[in-house]
């Protein structure tokens, strides 16, 4: 296998480190036999290695002993030295704390804005209040807000007035309807009362007339009965011849006066 100088130069340091395959070593040796430049490269590498390997070690300036005090307490080493049961208990405690800490950290929310620090645990953070530093912005905002408020107030007032007018209209209509109804009802009542009065008057008149005629008939009947009785008595007296003529005449005149009462 023929190799190029580039390949040979890559192989030279590897050959010195015994890092070539037998085939590569054979190819290198064959190339070095023919190429003086690569051979010079190999010699240069050999010299470098000789120089490097010739550098002696320096003696230690002192001993580097360690002392038991230098080994400070380590929590991890202490845990490693525990019995398996205690290791398990410690692991459970650490895991529980880690889980609880993680849960707490997950629920904890924090916001830092414009020098205001807001913490929240379990609840969403309140919305951030934007802070404006400019006085001009504040004035403009104030004017805008005032205008908006005035416009809104006017709108609301107009709406309120319209609503009120509507209600008044409605109530007027309702009142008028009611009034009509009342009027109709009153008229109806008046008519019925008049009718009733008339009926009552008619009935009363008829009753009075009836009563008067009954009285007259009764009186007339009594008068006739009295006359009949008186006649009977007079006849009886006349027959018996006890009454005086004057008395008889007076009695007759009285009876006649009574009989002259007008008939109704």
């Amino acid at each position: 296998m023929k190799s190029t100088c580039e390949e040979a130069r890559n192989w030279v340091p590897r050959a010195l480190m015994s890092d070539l395959t037998p085939r590569e070593e054979q190819a290198l040796n064959a190339h070095l036999a023919e190429c003086s430049a690569c051979l010079g490269e190999q010699q240069l590498y050999s010299e470098v290695l000789s120089q490097v390997r010739a550098v002696p070690d320096s003696p230690v300036p002192r001993h580097f002993f360690v002392y038991p005090d230098e080994r400070s307490f380590s929590v991890i080493e202490f845990l490693r030295g525990l019995a398996p049961g205690w290791k398990l208990a410690a692991s459970v405690v650490v895991l529980t704390i880690a889980v609880l800490g993680g849960l707490m950290a997950a629920r904890l929310q924090f916001r830092a804005e414009h020098g205001v620090y807001t913490f929240s645990f379990g609840r969403p953070l309140p919305p951030a209040v934007p802070v404006r530093n400019s006085a001009i912005e504040i004035q403009a905002l104030r004017a805008e807000l005032t205008g908006l408020l005035a416009a809104r107030s006017n709108t609301e007032r107009a709406e309120w007035i319209n609503a009120l007018r509507q209600q008044i209209k409605e109530s007027n209509r309702y009142g008028a309807r009611q009034q009509q109804q009342w009027n109709a009802a009153l008229a109806n009542l008046e008519t019925r009362l008049n009718d009733r009065i008339e009926d009552s008057a008619v009935t009363l008149t008829a009753g009075m007339e009836q009563s008067a005629s009954n009285v007259f008939r009764t009186l007339q009947r009594q008068r006739q009965q009295d006359l009949a009785l008186t006649r009977t008595r007079l006849e009886h007296l006349a027959t018996r011849g006890e009454l005086k003529e004057q008395e008889t005449d007076e009695i007759l005149s009285t009876l006649l006066q009574v009989a002259r009462l007008p008939e109704k």
């Binding site: 480190m17 890092d19 290695l49 010739a54 550098v55 320096s58 001993h63 580097f64 360690v66 380590s74």
Partner: protein, 208 residues
């Protein structure tokens, strides 16, 4: 025949010693895991020199390397209970050292280059004797060391640690992959790129 026997015997002895060292180290590690500082300091005695030199070549400053080495052993002492006994202690220790030195390098401000000029001079008797006997050789040796250390500065931390572990700690590619916790192909790529940079830097240095 005798040579073969001698060779077999020496290999057996080496293996036995290695096994003995491994079991001894395992005992020290087990003792350290029980909280025995004396056992751990025996491990420190064994590994402080390679760890210190690794830190020194990575950080290029003796004081910082000493500080880093002390921190590495302290980290190892604190974490020894996490070490699995079926793994290799050296791999684990080198991993701590490599990560610590790499993080220290990354924390450095860019453009800071600390120099080891004169700071790596040893006080071992052999070196002093060699210097006394052949000052010229010693001079060239120091010069070469200085050039290599300067060239190492141009490597990225990831490349530097791989070069350190391969050439100075004499680890295999697989062991280095375990230490730096990277795939084998990545380790090889970093090493060969690092070698390329060293070659260029040392060649430039020689040309001057």
């Amino acid at each position: 025949m005798e040579n073969i026997l001698d060779s077999a015997l020496s290999q057996t002895r080496a293996l036995t010693n290695q096994n003995a060292e491994s079991s001894q180290e395992a005992a020290w590690v087990a003792g350290s895991q029980r909280g025995d500082a004396v056992s751990f300091n025996r491990l420190v005695l064994k590994w402080e020199r390679p760890i210190y030199n690794l830190s020194l070549r990575m950080l290029r400053d003796a004081d910082e390397a000493a500080e880093a080495t002390q921190e590495v052993f302290l980290l190892a002492f604190k974490g020894i209970r996490r070490f699995r006994l079926d793994a290799q202690f050296s791999t684990w220790l080198y991993r701590i050292a490599a990560n610590h030195c790499t993080s220290r390098l990354r924390k450095r401000p860019p453009g800071v280059h600390l120099s080891l000029d004169g700071s790596h001079e040893g006080t071992e008797a052999g070196q002093s004797l060699a210097a006394a006997e052949c000052p010229e050789r010693e001079f060239f040796r120091k010069e070469s060391d200085h050039k290599v250390r300067r060239a190492l500065e141009y490597l990225q931390p990831e490349q530097r640690i791989v070069v350190e572990l391969k050439f100075f700690q004499e680890m295999t590619f697989d062991q280095i992959a375990l230490v730096v916790e990277a795939p084998l192909s990545t380790v090889k790529s970093r090493l060969y790129h690092g070698l390329e940079i060293l070659k260029i830097r040392l060649a430039r240095g020689a040309a001057r």
